[in-house]
């Protein structure tokens, strides 16, 4: 029942829980370890980071570590776990693994709507370590960390979203504005 791929995925999950990198969280589905949900927070001090208005937008002020109101959205659960008081963009992704893992990379896709030069409209990501530069040494934490750093460090030479790529090169202000827009959207999306 336990194949090398599954064993390795269990290890990845344990590692993620014991030693989570900043701004990243992920867990497999209850009934299917080959399919994971993950959340990436926008890196601090970047347009991907929400800004001071965030807490007010949520409408419910929650003290750090305090009691959550009933019927809280999963998002608030995440907020409570985070040490920082600011809430940046929270972008949801799915990771689909195969039995070839870790010799083959998972298929990673953004669920939240994104505006980024290297992210396609359907959420697929154009990232080298997910394709030809993959190594069996990378684990889930490494993948998510790379994606997080891609957010504020795009590569306009391989544009998946030509509009975003153009805007990033030519009109930074407009680009940042759009980024803030999707950051706000990411809180309300389900």
């Amino acid at each position: 029942m336990s194949t090398p791929a599954r064993k390795r995925l269990m290890r990845d999950f344990k590692r993620l829980q014991q030693d989570p990198p900043a701004g990243i969280s992920g867990a497999p589905h209850d009934n299917n370890i080959m399919l994971w949900n993950a959340v990436i927070f926008g890196p601090d001090d970047t347009p991907w980071d929400g800004g001071e208005a965030t807490v007010v937008v949520l409408g419910t002020a929650v003290a750090e570590g305090g009691e959550l109101p009933p019927k809280a959205s999963p998002l608030l659960e995440v907020v409570r776990l985070m040490p920082a008081s600011r809430l940046g963009g929270t972008f949801k992704l799915t990771l689909q693994f195969t039995e070839d893992y870790p010799n083959k990379p998972p298929t990673v896709r953004f669920v939240s709507r994104m505006f980024h030069p290297n992210i396609y409209a359907d959420g697929s990501i154009c990232l080298d370590i997910l394709q030809n530069q993959w190594s069996p040494i990378y684990d889930v934490a490494a993948i998510l960390t790379s994606i997080q750093s891609l957010l504020c460090d795009p590569n306009p030479n391989s544009p998946a979203n030509s509009e975003a790529a153009r805007m990033f090169s030519e009109n930074k202000r407009e680009y940042n504005r759009k980024v803030r827009e999707i950051v706000e959207q990411s809180w309300t999306a389900d």
Binding site: P4, K7, R8, I129, P136, I137
Partner: protein, 588 residues
């Protein structure tokens, strides 16, 4: 004469296309040099295998390839004092060129080591009894872990998975590196042999063999389907015709079927044209008209001129003038009539799109003319090839029985068929040449079509004789007396056709430069020069013979001056005993 024929023909049967028009030196490039670099003796007296190796290419079987590969690896391994596996990696990186490896290595060894992944210094191995595998994060005792020269440890299972995946992914496995992304240590065949499964090792070995041919600029696989041979070619010798041991002839430059005298560009364009969508477009342009409203192409399939376009357009118009149907009245000559030419022309109705239609139609017809002939010659050649094979395998014996002639006396039939096969090939490609000949070059076109016509009619006569007339002798119950006459006739036709084709090939290779004058003294009947100027005639004769023996290996061997002489008038090869030409009665 017969015994010499035997010796050559035994080898000739394997190489169908080999010796016609492809000498071992650059042929037909400058006619002025004909006389100079022909070495009659070396051509005629050598036997074919030596002849082939003297040429600018060699055929390699799988065993040959393995041998060469092993030798190269050994050489590099000895000179550079490195392991065979490392030598193999190095060679592969530098396209299997031993000289390049040596140059690069001795120029900057460290740089080469880094680029290729052959690290020298062993990374410090931890002394702990247990190590953690970098892929599955399990702990294992040290002796169960393997690592490349870099020292990164991984367990056997993980290695097997890693190597197996890489090999399944294709020839990229030859450049395998350590799984650690920060490390570039190469993983060579020695590690593969340790770590991979049996099947994967076989696959790896296969990829390595293929790499020796594919990554090396001097070698290529024979493109014939099912052929396992490779060809090594000496670059810079100019002639691209290769004839493989499997009897497939191809061009080195473009790996298409052998296509002399036409150049590779023309061939590529022609093949593309035959297969391209562009022909469909041309057909559509020529045979359909666009709806005046929605512009979709419409093909008329009924008699009436009143056309209604399909929904959603539903526009009604006249097929002839493309005008709206509602306006078809007085203007166009009455209802249901559309015959007023002057008016229409004045109105400029025959406009741009109409002109394009006309041009497309013409272009399509022109293309069809050439394509049909190209394809017909192609299928004719295939048939001739199969006839040749059946002749070699069964019919020769049968004929020998029926006509009570020893098989050695029947070689002329095989030669005739070989000639037919080769001439069909040349003729086929001359049609592609003709299609691309610029329309405005009238003189060249006329000259080309004249030469082509002569060659074609010669070939048809030869093909007819070999096919139909031979059948009579095959079916005969008893030996027939006129078989010897038939032999003379067929041999004569073979030789005449060969001359016509040589002229054609030579003319095309020089780009039809000498338009107006035929620079071949063989076909042109210059009665004055051959009769009056004895020396010039002799010079011409030996020049023609020189050409023949240089151009065609086996059969032309018989046109050696001592055995036969070539008639100045019609170029028929007469036996020495004849005082006058047996074909045209012209005095020697």
């Amino acid at each position: 004469m017969d015994s010499e024929d035997d010796m050559h023909d035994a080898n000739d049967l394997e190489s169908v296309d080999d010796d016609f028009y492809s000498g071992d030196t650059a042929m037909g490039s400058d006619d002025g040099d004909d006389f100079d670099f022909v070495d009659n003796e070396s051509d005629d007296s050598e036997d074919i295998t030596y002849h082939r190796q003297q040429q600018n290419y060699t055929i390699l079987s799988e065993a040959d390839i393995r041998l060469r590969q092993e030798e190269d690896i050994s050489r590099v391994s000895t000179v550079l004092s490195i392991s065979r596996s490392a030598a193999c990696i190095l060679l592969r990186h530098y396209q299997w060129s031993v000289s390049r490896v040596n140059d690069e290595w001795f120029a900057d060894e460290e740089h080469v080591r880094k680029v290729v992944g052959l690290l020298e210094k062993l990374v410090e191995v931890q002394n702990s009894r247990e190590l953690t595998c970098g892929i599955c994060f399990e702990n294992y005792p040290q002796d169960r872990m393997t690592s490349a020269i870099c020292g990164h440890p991984f367990c056997g299972t993980c290695w097997r998975g890693y190597v197996g995946t890489s090999i399944s992914d294709g020839p990229g496995c030859l450049m395998l590196r350590c799984p650690d992304p920060s490390c570039g240590a190469a993983v060579g065949q020695d590690m593969i042999d340790l770590l991979a499964s049996h099947e994967d090792k076989e696959k790896y070995s296969r990829y390595l063999l293929r790499s020796y041919i594919e990554d090396n600029r001097k070698t290529k696989w024979c493109p014939a389907p099912g052929c396992e041979f490779a060809v090594e070619y000496v670059i810079g010798s100019g002639i691209y015709d290769i004839c493989c041991n499997c009897s497939y002839g191809f061009c080195w430059n473009c790996t298409e079927e052998a296509h002399r005298p036409v150049d590779c560009d023309t061939v590529a364009k022609w093949i593309l044209k035959n297969s391209a969508e562009s022909e469909n477009m041309n057909w559509i342009l020529a045979n359909s008209k666009p709806c005046p409203k929605c512009k979709r192409p419409i093909e008329k399939n009924q008699g009436c001129m009143h056309i209604t376009c399909t929904p959603p357009c539903k526009f009604e118009f006249c097929w002839l003038c493309l005008g709206p149907w509602s306006e078809h009245g007085e203007r166009t000559g009455g209802f249901y009539a559309c015959n007023r030419y002057e008016a229409a022309k004045q109105e400029g109705a025959y406009d741009e799109s109409e002109r394009r239609r006309e041009m497309a139609k013409n272009s399509l017809e022109r293309y069809t003319h050439y394509y049909e002939r190209w394809a017909t010659n192609q299928s004719s050649r295939q048939k001739a090839l199969s006839d040749l094979h059946s002749m070699q395998n069964e019919k020769l014996e049968k004929l020998s029985d029926r006509q009570s002639q020893p098989e050695s006396q029947l070689k002329f039939i095989i030669e005739a068929w070989l000639q037919i096969v080769e001439c069909r090939r040349v003729l086929k490609w001359t049609y592609a040449y003709g299609y691309y000949l610029p329309e405005h070059e009238h003189a060249k076109r006329q000259f080309f079509e004249y030469l082509q016509g002569e060659a074609e009619s010669g070939l048809e006569r030869l093909h007819q004789c070999a096919e139909k007339e031979l059948q009579v002798y095959l079916d005969a119950e008893t030996p027939m007396k006129d078989f010897n006459d038939f032999r003379t006739k067929l041999a004569g036709l073979t030789s005449v056709t060969r001359n016509y084709f040589e002229n054609l090939v030579r003319a095309l290779e020089t780009g039809l430069k000498d338009v107006g004058s035929s620079n071949s003294e063989a076909t042109c009947s210059k009665t004055s020069s051959s009769k009056s100027l004895g020396t010039k005639g002799k010079g011409g004769k030996s020049k023609a013979t020189g050409n023949n023996s240089r151009l065609a290996g086996g059969p032309s061997h018989s046109l050696d001056e001592s055995n036969l002489w070539s008639c100045d008038h019609c170029t028929y090869a007469n036996p020495k005993s004849a005082k006058a030409c047996q074909m045209c009665e012209h005095r020697r």
